[in-house]
Amino acid sequence: MSECVAEKKRRVLWIINHQTLMDFEPYILRDLGYEVYIPKLFPQSEENRSGKVTYDFDSSLTIPREVLDQLNEFNFYRTKITPTIRSSINNYFDIAIIAAFPHLVEQFITAFEGRIILRVFGHASNTYAKIFEDRYPGFKQAVINLGDRFFFGTAFQHLEDIEPDYIRSRTLYLPIGLPQVFFAQKNTWIGDEDFIFFVCPVINSSPYYQNIYRNFTRFFKGFDYKIGGKQLVQVDDPAVIGSLTREEFDSYLRHCRVMFYHSEEPYHLHHHPLEAMAFGVPVIFMKKGLLGRLGQELPGASKNYREARQKVARVIRGDQEFIKNIQKSQYRILENFSYEYCIRRWRESFATLIKERQGVKQKRKHKIALFVPGSYKSGTFDAARAIAKIIHEKSKNSGSPVHVVLSVQAGVHGYETIKKIKEEGIDLRETKWEIVDRDRAKKIANLTGILSEMRHSHYYVPRDFVDDFMDCDLWICVSDSFMYPIFPLKRYGVVVHDVLMKYFPEYQQGPLYYSRILQNRGADFILTTTPQTRDDVISYYGIASDRVFLVPIDYSNEDRYLSTQVPTSPYILWPTNAAVHKNHLNAFKALMRYYSLGGTYKIVITGWDVNVFDLSYNCPEDQLLSLPHIAETRRYLEREKSARDKIEIRSNLEKQECYDILKRAAFLFCPTMIDNGTFAVIDAGLYKVPMCCSDYPQMRYLDETFNLKISFFNPRSPDEMAEKMLEMEQTWDKRKMNLPSQQELIAKIERKRDEYWDIMQGLL
């Protein structure tokens, strides 16, 4: 991933969308030799009444059409940058000029790898540093961390004077310009109507403007005036003319006798007085404001409202000499906004920008951390291991090796397992999860430069007591079962295997319920392995679809001998566990029905904690026994004594023992109500053991993906399940012959690993 900055196309993201700026700045950038992208979506609200969209610059962008379409459908102002957009903006753009909105600042500092210019025009009551530091404790450090990639793009000189050092030292003067069309209006002022033109929007909706309005009407009482500006609530004053079209506004400018500009903000300037000056309208303004700083001793400048009234009176009376003096002096102010002045200063500033970034970016190896929460030993841990292996091997083969770090909890895994993982080239780190509260999290953010609002009361932090995984570029949590959301010290993704809480009220209680939702919403991306789970993540967790990726099943077929066997004493194998979604009661009812219909095979039940279904097991400390679904199933089994001798329960077996039992089974029985599809069916496929399973979308997906020829039944109907089992008893041997070969299945699994890596590459 090496690149030479000089080789990269000169393209700029201009994320501002202000209508008057849009008539000037993108053209300046184009004249400086840049291709410019302007967003097509921005928040449509009264606060953004000056917002505008244009497609005029799209045709000159030399980026792929689909990338342009993606950018045009994306709302930069409101939406978290998705992995796809992140990839696009980093691949195709070197500079981003962004409006000083907190969301844009957070998103671009976090996601954009090019140079960021924060475009500022002055703030009425605060420094920009304070505004952003108050919102993001890590803002200052984040800017410092960016080094020479962050600039404070000021529209007026000396705006940076009140900012702290770390901002001031990054100032880039990019003067604001007036579009040529306004200069074309030079000397078009007529001034034949005796009124003051004043602009004051949202009078009855904004206390600030209400005060401005009151001052104006008080001090200019007795004069005729017209007050323009959009009003959200009707104003009972016939002089308030409200929102105007461009033509109407120009007409008022042309015919008014004088304009009064009220602003005393030293670091902020509206556009309309400049527009008026370009027309030749005499503008009376306040010395204390920014306009006053540009022209302190100019005849139009007033030190207070009283003086302003006197000057307005002179203009209204027709003091021609005074009017001419004002007009002549105003052109000096306008020079600061002319194209010639602006392009000269922009060119100087951009020269600094490019100079600081010369050189070649060195190739760097990416590092990914994979986290497994809690003491998972099988399913989730196996998935994590499988993912680690895929990334490690496939990245090495592709020529861009990725260093994989697998995080495990101390004391959970045996010596052999750890040895084997290390032999596979995967770095293993024992991890302790510590909890931080919001206050501490804010302070850590301050230290590290993380831009996040810290909305949650507590977070989990992974500790390895060395680098604490801060040396990794990307974190992936191979489960969303965290008691607290992970502290976003790094960009992180989550692998979600299922959304069972959507289907079972029992999973909607307890501390994990909300933490799952929060964890997933905070993630940069989610990985799911079936389309149904993907849909569930989007609809239940409320996560945008372009942050949820469908990846192939994270299955690994290693660690076993793949010899098949023809069962001599056939039995049914039911792999399960004690969880409520496993549908035990219906399954046992189906079993009893199967035997009553003449079924002869015994059933072997394997899995974690399945001994709870053994009626001879009665451990008072075992809380599982008190769970309603377990208790109900046990009560049922106590009543149904007839086929007890046909049920064999083998709880908590090692993996190899499970495979041994599987290969001798006649068929696999999976009556789960719903989950993400069990890997047991792929295991069964490898051992050429036919299967009958519940009919739900995830299982159908596994069946289609691996061509497992599963026979399906309705998990709510014990009768249907029983009939299916009877049918399987009679046909399993024929079905066995029709199953795909092991080689075929292994080849499919391998292809899925390649697909997995392709997707992961895009997310890095």
Binding site: L41, E46, N75, Y503, I517, S539
Partner: protein, 534 residues
């Protein structure tokens, strides 16, 4: 040419006129209609509606020129209404679920302490030590007083909880207590009724001077006193909904109110010169059938469609936006709205790719929420549709519905958004996969149809007489209507609609375009003609 005038009398109880609710929408639409036809309006109403009505008319989005409406209303609001208003304000302040004030003050004080004390310690001298000791003693005394107050408060709250728990249990004391509560409730209803009677008389006396020059249309048929006082009154009769679902309404708290109303309706209609209903069904089954009023002229005036797209005109007209701009705007409105909810699940919820059904309705027995929830459960759990349901009714107020939701784990699948503004409603409609109305009865074609279609979303409706009265084509009926009493049928239709959204919209568009030809100005004209008919 003589100016055309019409009098409208709206006699609603307090707090009925809220933006977005059916009555307000109907009233505003009619007023706009009359103004478009150049008919001058004289609006007569009880004193307590003055503020609500004028706010509604002045609200940002309505295009009614209220300077061209003559307002007639008694000046003084009855004391009991004023009292009730302030009591409910106090109640809502006490129950506001924001951060408790005490906790806020405590945290602010702690912050001050953290910042100021280190500085003070750095400058410590003997006089400041004495000062600190005094400060410490004052703080301890204050702390003890506050603790006493807090503990007392907690004791009171606990007592209240115990008391209400006892009331829930079936014991003798609670039965007596419930009897008292019921009696109070009944008294409240009778008080409202007497209030309305008295106010009607005052209003009638203000209307009297207009004489026979103006014809009056009475918006609600509940107040025979009003009808008697007006010459040749035309009474609008929407429906008598508790006739359709008597047990449902019989079980609700306002049973006494409904019984009083039923008698009043009959009296009022008997006193009318003419009656307007919104459908043939209500004309025949309710007025002529149930109420047995067969000797009056009854005119059926269907509603015109409602168009919500105007509420989405912000910087530009909604109709001028591209598809992605429309969607983005609506997402912005809905997302901003969800952030305001005191709900951890919803405040951060990204709805952009979530398929949801929308049912905009109040919570009433005939609105058929139960079956809709059952159909949703079927769709999610057995058909695996990843959908949600958004409802605008305050479903939390119904214990049985709440129990169904929590027993079936649907609390995250059903999003409840009561009392949303028309703008937010329009945005929800635009984003919805489908709008649905499973009602068992309505006075006319539900507004759901036009509201949804006006912003580009197709609709599924109950197969009920008033709907079949307007949507005649059997083929279209088969596609867009379902049996509201058959959960499987409802689920089937919804499933089909979700998978064929564009097709459904295309099927319904010509019907909607045809309906749009008839406007509220046409409806207003018809009302005028009926009022002035001899």
């Amino acid at each position: 040419m003589k100016e055309r005038k019409i009098g409208l009398i709206i006699v609603f109880p307090p707090y009925i006129l809220k933006e977005g609710e059916g009555l307000s929408t109907l009233l505003l639409s009619l007023l706009k209609g009359f103004q478009e036809k150049g008919i001058r309006i004289i609006l007569a109403y009880p004193s307590w509606l003055d503020n609500d009505l004028k706010s509604l008319l002045k609200a940002q989005y309505t295009m009614i020129d209220h300077s061209r409406i003559e307002f007639i209303s008694p000046k003084r609001v009855p004391i009991v209404v004023i009292l009730e208003y302030y009591l409910s304000k106090i109640h809502s302040i006490l129950h506001r679920r924001k951060k408790p004030l005490l906790k806020k003050w405590f945290q602010a004080a702690l912050l001050e302490f953290e910042q100021k004390i280190p500085r003070a310690l750095g400058r410590l001298n003997y006089s400041s030590i004495i000062f600190l000791i005094l400060l410490f003693i004052s703080a301890v005394v204050l702390f003890l007083i506050l603790s006493l107050i807090i503990i007392s408060g907690h004791i009171l709250v606990s007592l209240r909880k115990i008391l209400s728990q006892k009331i829930k249990e079936k014991n003798t004391a609670s039965i007596y207590f419930n009897t008292i509560l019921n009696e109070i409730s009944s008294m409240q209803i009778r008080t409202v009724h007497e209030l309305m009677k008295h106010e009607s008389k005052k209003l009638a006396s203000l209307i009297h001077p207009f004489g026979d020059d103006i014809r009056w249309v009475i918006f609600t048929p509940f107040w025979p006193e009003m009808t008697r006082a007006i010459p040749k009154p035309v009474v609008i009769f929407p429906d008598i909904v508790f006739h359709e679902t008597p047990v449902g309404y019989g079980m609700d708290q306002l049973l006494d109110f409904h019984l009083i109303r039923k008698n009043n309706i009959r009296e009022s209609l008997k006193e009318s010169s003419q009656i307007i209903t919104y459908s043939e069904y209500t004309k025949m089954c309710h007025v002529q059938g149930f109420l047995e009023i067969r000797d009056k002229k009854i005119s059926v005036v269907h509603h015109a469609p409602l168009d919500l797209s105007g509420y989405l005109n912000i910087l530009r007209p909604f109709s001028e936006l591209s598809l992605s701009e429309k969607r983005d705007l609506c997402l912005q409105i809905v997302t901003d709205y969800l952030k305001t909810l005191d709900n951890e699940y919803l405040s951060d919820f990204d709805i952009s790719d979530v398929q949801f059904l929308l049912y905009s309705s109040q919570l009433r027995p005939h609105k058929n929420f139960f079956h809709l929830f059952q159909a949703l459960n079927l769709l999610i759990r057995e058909r695996y549709h990843p959908i949600k349901l958004v409802v605008t009714a305050g479903v939390h107020g119904n214990r049985d519905l709440q129990k169904y939701i929590s027993d079936n784990g649907l609390s995250r699948d059903i999003i409840i958004v009561p009392r949303i503004s028309q703008r937010v409603l329009a945005a929800f409609y635009h984003l919805a996969a489908l709008a649905i109305n499973p009602t068992l009865f309505e006075g006319d074609l539900p507004f759901t149809f036009s509201e949804a279609m006006s912003v580009g979303t197709p609709v599924l409706l109950s197969r009920i007489p008033v709907v079949e009265e307007v949507i005649h084509d059997p083929q279209i009926q088969d596609i867009i209507l379902f049996d509201p009493r058959d959960v499987d049928n409802m689920a089937e239709k919804i499933s089909w609609g979700l998978n064929n959204r564009d097709l459904l919209y295309r099927i319904e568009k010509p019907l909607y375009d045809q309906m749009k030809k008839r406007t509220w100005a046409d409806v207003a004209e018809k009302y005028y003609q009926v009022a002035y008919e001899e």
